[in-house]
C-alpha cells in the first residue's frame, strides 16, 4: 500500500483510539449539564480505563477461556470497524477489506462473542443480559443494513468509501430516502450503544439493564477493554452516521493534506452529535424491555420505507 494511504490509515486508528473515550466523556458531560448535575471531566473515561487496567481482574472459577478471550475479540472487532470507516479520509487501504455489509457482520461478531462470554459464567443475570442483547441485535442489525442499503442504492455501491465519495461530491440534493434512513439510524444507534430509552448504562437494576448485565462478571483489564470497546463502538456509529449523512469535510484519496482540515471538521461534527445524543437521552424516558422490539421494528420499517421511496422516486 502506498505511503500516504498507510499514514492516513494509521492516523485513523490512533484518532479513533483517542477520540472514542473522549466522545463518551463528552456525551456524559453534556447529559450531566442538561440534567443539572455536576459533570465529570471530559477525560474521565481515560481515568476510568487507567484505574481498571491497574486492578487485577477477578474471574469466576469455572469460567472458560472463551470468557477471557471475549474482551480482546470485541476490542479487536471495534478497532477494525473504526479502521475501515472513512471518518477522516477515504484513502484507507483497509477499507476495501470490509464494505457496509461486512461492517454489520463485524458488529454482529462482537455481539455474539460478548453474549457468549456473558452466558459462560452461567449466572442468572449473565444469560438474561445475553438474551436481551441478542434480542436487540437481531432487530437492530437488519435495520442498520437497510440504512446502508438506502445509501448504497443511491451510490450503487456498498463500499463505504465509494458511498462517501459519491455523496460528498454530487451537488447538494435532497434525498427523502436518506431522511428516513437517518431517523432509523438514530434509533439503531440508541439501541446498539445501550442508550436511553432502550437501555440505561448508569443503573444495575435487574429489570432494565441489558449491557450492564452482559459485563457484570468482568473486572479489571477485561472490563477496561470492554468499556473502551463500547466507546469505540459509539465512535464508530458516529463516524458511520457522519459519513452517510454529513460526508462533508472528509479528505479525498487524492489530497493527503486535507487530513489536517478533516480532523477539526470531524471533531466539530462529533461535538454537535454528542450534544444531540445527550439531549435525546435527557428528554426521553427509559422504556420497558418488551417495548424495545416495537421501537426497533419501527426503525427497521423506516429504513425499508426509505429504500422503497428511493426506488419509487428514483431519488
Amino acid at each position: 500500500m502506498n505511503m500516504p494511504g498507510f499514514l492516513s490509515q494509521l492516523v485513523a486508528i490512533v484518532v479513533a483510539l483517542l477520540l472514542a473515550p473522549i466522545l463518551t466523556g463528552w456525551v456524559n458531560q453534556c447529559r450531566a449539564w442538561m440534567q443539572n448535575k455536576s459533570a465529570p471531566g471530559l477525560f474521565q473515561p481515560f481515568r476510568l480505563l487507567h484505574k481498571l487496567f491497574n486492578k487485577e481482574s477477578v474471574v469466576a472459577e469455572y469460567a472458560s477461556p472463551l470468557f477471557r478471550a471475549a474482551p480482546y475479540i470485541v476490542f479487536g472487532c471495534m478497532l477494525l470497524a473504526c479502521a475501515i470507516i472513512p471518518a477522516l479520509s477515504t484513502n484507507l487501504p483497509l477499507s476495501p477489506v470490509a464494505d457496509a455489509i461486512a461492517l454489520v457482520g463485524l458488529f454482529a461478531l462482537a455481539r455474539v462473542f460478548i453474549s457468549l462470554a456473558a452466558m459462560d459464567v452461567g449466572t442468572a443475570f449473565g444469560s438474561l443480559g445475553a438474551r436481551r442483547e441478542m434480542l436487540i441485535g437481531f432487530l437492530a442489525e437488519p435495520a442498520l443494513l437497510m440504512v446502508f442499503f438506502s445509501a448504497s442504492l443511491i451510490s450503487n455501491s456498498t463500499s463505504l468509501t465509494t458511498i462517501v465519495e459519491t455523496l460528498a461530491h454530487q451537488e447538494l440534493a435532497i434525498y427523502p430516502s436518506l431522511a428516513f434512513a437517518f431517523v432509523a439510524f438514530t434509533m439503531v444507534l440508541l439501541a446498539e450503544n445501550a442508550r436511553v430509552p432502550v437501555d440505561n448504562p448508569a443503573t444495575h437494576l435487574e429489570l432494565t439493564m441489558i449491557h450492564e448485565a452482559l459485563i457484570l462478571e468482568y473486572s479489571g483489564r477485561h472490563l477496561a477493554l470492554i468499556e473502551w470497546a463500547s466507546s469505540l463502538k459509539l465512535f464508530a456509529y458516529y463516524c458511520v452516521g457522519l459519513a452517510l449523512f454529513f460526508p462533508w469535510g472528509i479528505a479525498e484519496a487524492q489530497a493527503p493534506m486535507a487530513l489536517l482540515f478533516a480532523l477539526p471538521a470531524l471533531i466539530f461534527k462529533l461535538a454537535i452529535g454528542g450534544v444531540l445524543l445527550a439531549f435525546l437521552e435527557t428528554i426521553s424516558a427509559k422504556m420497558r424491555i418488551f417495548r424495545v422490539p416495537e421501537f426497533l421494528g419501527t426503525a427497521f420499517l423506516l429504513a425499508v420505507i426509505g429504500m422503497l421511496i428511493h426506488i419509487l422516486l428514483k431519488a
Binding site: 464494505d99 437488519p142 465509494t162 457484570l216
Partner: protein
C-alpha cells in the same frame, strides 16, 4: 497444482464411478460382516471416508477441465439403459458430496456403538448405499436412472432413520419421511413425463432437445418444484424434516441435512436451467416467495426449539429457504436476460450450498458427540460442556459462527453475495419487482440476524454456563475418529470462509454452463479481495479481515501486558452479590426462545399452561407446534378418512347388493355402447 490435475485428468467419470462402486462394495462387505462390529466401524467406514476423498479429487479435477463426459451402463430398461453424465454442475455437487461424506464417515467410524438396534453391518450397507445413490442422482442423465437413484436414496436414508426402530417416535418419523419423499418423487416423475413431450425417450439429452410451450414448461417446472421441494423441506412440505433429523443417528442426520437436501437444489437447477431452456419471470418470483417464507419460518421455529437436533433441523429448513430464494433470484434475472446478475445470484446460491453442507454436517456430528457423551438431546438438561469436552466445544463454536453467517466464515460470504445481487435488482424492467426487492433484502437480513440469535442459544445453552444435570460432569470428549471427522469439516468451513476467490473459480464453470456468464474472470483480479463486480462497488477480504481482528487482539493483549500486568484471581461469580447461585437459575432454552415466541406469536401454534396465583405447586408449561399440522395435514387426513368411510359403505356384505352392482354396471355399459 494444475499439472497435477492434468496428470490424472484422464477419465474423471471413470474415477467417480470407481469411487461409487467402492462404496457399494463396502456396503456388500458390511452385509457379510453383519455383526462384526470392529471390522465394520474401524475398517469399512474409514475406507469409505477415503473413497469420499477420491471422489472429491476426481470431481475437483473434472471441474477444472470443463468437458462433459458421459457413459451408458447396460442396466435399466430395454430402450432406456442407465445414462450417466459428468458435467460441471454434477461435478460441483459431487465434489461437495465427496468432501463432506469423507468427514462424516470418519466421524461415523468412531460414532456407531455396539448393540444399537440394527446390526452394524446392515447400517454400513445402508449408509454406503445412501452415499452411492446420492452421487448417482447427481450423475444421472436420464429420467429413469435419476428416479431409481432418487428413490434408492430416499429408501436407504429411511432405513437409516429407522435404525433404532424399537422407539415408536422413530418409526413415526420414518414413516412420515418416506411418505412425503414418495409423493414428491411421483411429482418429479410426472415432471419428467411432461419434459419428454410424448417422444417416449427419457434421456435428458432428448429433453434438452425438446421445445415446450410455455404452459407445458410451467407445468413441468411446478411439478419439479413440488417434487424437489418435498425433498428439500420447502413450506408446506417441511413437516417430515424436523421429525426425521432428530430420529436418525447423528452422522446420518449430518448427511441428510448437509448433502441430501442439496440434491433437491441440484434437481431444481438441473430442471429449470438445463432441461428447460427459457425461464419465465414468475417462476423466479414463486421460488423467491416460497424460499423466503420457508427461511423465516425455519429460523423462527429453530429459535424456540428445546431439542438440539430439532433446532438444527429447523435451521436447515431456513438455509434451504435461502437457497431457494437465491435460485429464484437468479431465475428472475436470467428470465430478463441479465446474465451477469443471474450468475452472481447463482454463485451465491452454490456457495451457500457448499458452506451449508459443511457447517450443518459439522454441527450435526457435534450434537452426535454430545449425545454420546451425555445421552441427552434436550437443551434443558445440558450446559457447561465446554469444560468437559473442550474439543467438541471449540469445533462447534466454529460451526456456529459459520452458521450464524458471521465473518470471516463461509456462511457470511454466501449471504454477502446474495445481498450484493439484491442490490442489482433495480435494473429489472419490471417495476413491481423493483418494489418487491427491498422487502426481500430486508427479510434476508432479518433471517441472517435471527440465525445468529438461534446459534448463540444453541452454543450457549449446550456448552456454556453451568451443567444443568449432575451427570454431565462425567461427559467425555470425542474420540480419535470423531476428532478426525470434525477436524476435516472444520477445515472445510474455514477454507470456504477465507478463500472465496479461489472457491468461486470452482463455481465459475457451473454458472458458465448454466447461464453463460460467471464471476471467475472478474473475481480473479483481486486475489485477496473478493470483488464480485468492481472494486468501487463492493469488496470483501476475509483473510485481511481475520488478520485485522487478530492483530488488534494480539496488540491489545501485548500492550496490556506491557504497560500493566496479567494478574488474575479466581473467585465465585459475583452476580450482583446474589448469595445462592445454582445452575437452575440460568436461562433455559425455553427462556432464551421466549422473546421470539412473543414477537412472532402468530407463527406458532402454542399451548400454554400458566400457574394460577394461589396454587402451591405452580407449574409453567408451553408447547410450540406447527400450524401446518392443523391447517393442512390433519384436515387432509380427516378428508381421506371420511372418503374411505363413505367408500367402505359400498361393501356391506350383502350378496344381493353386490349382484345389483354388477347388474347396474352391465346395464350402464350396454347403454353406453349402444348410444355411442
Amino acid at each position: 497444482m494444475n499439472e497435477f490435475f492434468d496428470l490424472i485428468a484422464w477419465g474423471h467419470l471413470e474415477w467417480v464411478l470407481i469411487a461409487i462402486s467402492v462404496w457399494l462394495l463396502i456396503g456388500m462387505a458390511g452385509m457379510f460382516a453383519l455383526r462384526r462390529f470392529t471390522l465394520v466401524a474401524r475398517v469399512l467406514f474409514p475406507i469409505g471416508g477415503m473413497t469420499g476423498i477420491i471422489l472429491f479429487g476426481a470431481a475437483l479435477s473434472s471441474l477444472f477441465s470443463d468437458v462433459a463426459s458421459s457413459i451408458v451402463l447396460p442396466v435399466g430398461l430395454p430402450q432406456l439403459p442407465f445414462h450417466f453424465r459428468l458435467d460441471s454442475l454434477s461435478s460441483y455437487f459431487l465434489m461437495i458430496i465427496g468432501a463432506v461424506s469423507a468427514g462424516v464417515s470418519a466421524f461415523a467410524a468412531g460414532y456407531f456403538r455396539k448393540g444399537e438396534g440394527t446390526p452394524p453391518g446392515l447400517l454400513c450397507l445402508e449408509y454406503h448405499l445412501f452415499l452411492a445413490s446420492m452421487a448417482l442422482v447427481v450423475l444421472a442423465d436420464d429420467a429413469y436412472a435419476f428416479m431409481v437413484m432418487w428413490e434408492t436414496m430416499a429408501l436407504s436414508s429411511f432405513f437409516l432413520v429407522t435404525a433404532n426402530h424399537r422407539i415408536p417416535e422413530v418409526r413415526r418419523a420414518g414413516y412420515l419421511y418416506l411418505l412425503v419423499a414418495h409423493i414428491g418423487a411421483i411429482g418429479i416423475l410426472l415432471c419428467f413425463g411432461v419434459l419428454q413431450a410424448n417422444t417416449g425417450d427419457y434421456t435428458f439429452a432428448n429433453m434438452r432437445a425438446q421445445h415446450l410451450t410455455p404452459v407445458w414448461a410451467s407445468v413441468g417446472f411446478v411439478l419439479a418444484l413440488f417434487g424437489f421441494g418435498a425433498k428439500a423441506g420447502i413450506l408446506p412440505l417441511h413437516i417430515w424434516l424436523p421429525e426425521a433429523h432428530p430420529a436418525a443417528p447423528s452422522p446420518v442426520s449430518a448427511l441428510m441435512s448437509g448433502l441430501m437436501l442439496k440434491t433437491a437444489i441440484y434437481g431444481v437447477l438441473r430442471v429449470s436451467y438445463d432441461l428447460l431452456h427459457t425461464q419465465i419471470w414468475w417462476w423466479g418470483v414463486l421460488l423467491l416467495a416460497l424460499g423466503l417464507t420457508t427461511a423465516i419460518f425455519g429460523v423462527v421455529f429453530s429459535a424456540v426449539q428445546v431439542d438440539m437436533k430439532r433446532l438444527l433441523a429447523y435451521s436447515s429448513i431456513e438455509n434451504i429457504g435461502l437457497l431457494f430464494a437465491g435460485t429464484g433470484l437468479s431465475v428472475l434475472f436470467s428470465a430478463y436476460g441479465m446474465k451477469p446478475m443471474a450468475a452472481l445470484a447463482l454463485t451465491a446460491t452454490l456457495y451457500h450450498v457448499a458452506s451449508h453442507a459443511f457447517f450443518k454436517s459439522l454441527l450435526f456430528i457435534c450434537t452426535g458427540a454430545v449425545l454420546h457423551a451425555t445421552s441427552e438431546r434436550s437443551l434443558g438438561k445440558l450446559g457447561g460442556l465446554i469444560r468437559y469436552m473442550p474439543w467438541v466445544a471449540w469445533v462447534t463454536l466454529i460451526g456456529v459462527l459459520a452458521s450464524a453467517g458471521l465473518p470471516p466464515l463461509g456462511g457470511f460470504i454466501s449471504e454477502w453475495l446474495l445481498l450484493q445481487s439484491f442490490l442489482f435488482t433495480p435494473g429489472l424492467p419490471n417495476s413491481f419487482l423493483n418494489m418487491l426487492i427491498p422487502v426481500v433484502a430486508a427479510l434476508i437480513a432479518l433471517v441472517a440476524a435471527l440465525a445468529g440469535y438461534t446459534m448463540v442459544k444453541f452454543f450457549g445453552v449446550i456448552f456454556l454456563g453451568q451443567p444443568r444435570e449432575a451427570k454431565l460432569s462425567q461427559a467425555h470428549d470425542a474420540g480419535m475418529w470423531e476428532r478426525i471427522g470434525m477436524g476435516w469439516l472444520v477445515l472445510g468451513c474455514i477454507t470456504l470462509g477465507l478463500f472465496p476467490v479461489q472457491f468461486i473459480q470452482l463455481i465459475d464453470p457451473v454458472t458458465q454452463r448454466l447461464i453463460g456468464a460467471g464471476l471467475g474472470q472478474q473475481v480473479a483480479d483481486g486475489s485477496w479481495l473478493l470483488v464480485p463486480v468492481a472494486i468501487e462497488r463492493a469488496s470483501y477480504g476475509p483473510v485481511i479481515f481475520l488478520l485485522g481482528v487478530s492483530a488488534s487482539f494480539a496488540l491489545a493483549y501485548l500492550l496490556v501486558r506491557w504497560f500493566y500486568h496479567g494478574r488474575i484471581r479466581h473467585a465465585v461469580p459475583w452476580d450482583c452479590g446474589f448469595p445462592c447461585q445454582n445452575a437452575r437459575m440460568q436461562d433455559t432454552a425455553e427462556g432464551f426462545g421466549q422473546p421470539i415466541r412473543e414477537i412472532f406469536a402468530p407463527f406458532f401454534h402454542m399451548e400454554k399452561e400458566l400457574p394460577g396465583p394461589f396454587d402451591n405447586k405452580p407449574r409453567y408449561r408451553v408447547t410450540v407446534s406447527d400450524h401446518f399440522w392443523y391447517w393442512l395435514y390433519l384436515p387432509i387426513a380427516a378428508i381421506v378418512e371420511r372418503i374411505a368411510r363413505l367408500i367402505g359403505l359400498l361393501q356391506q356384505g350383502r350378496i344381493s347388493i353386490y349382484l345389483l352392482y354388477s347388474f347396474l354396471t352391465l346395464i350402464a355399459v350396454l347403454v353406453v355402447v349402444t348410444l355411442r
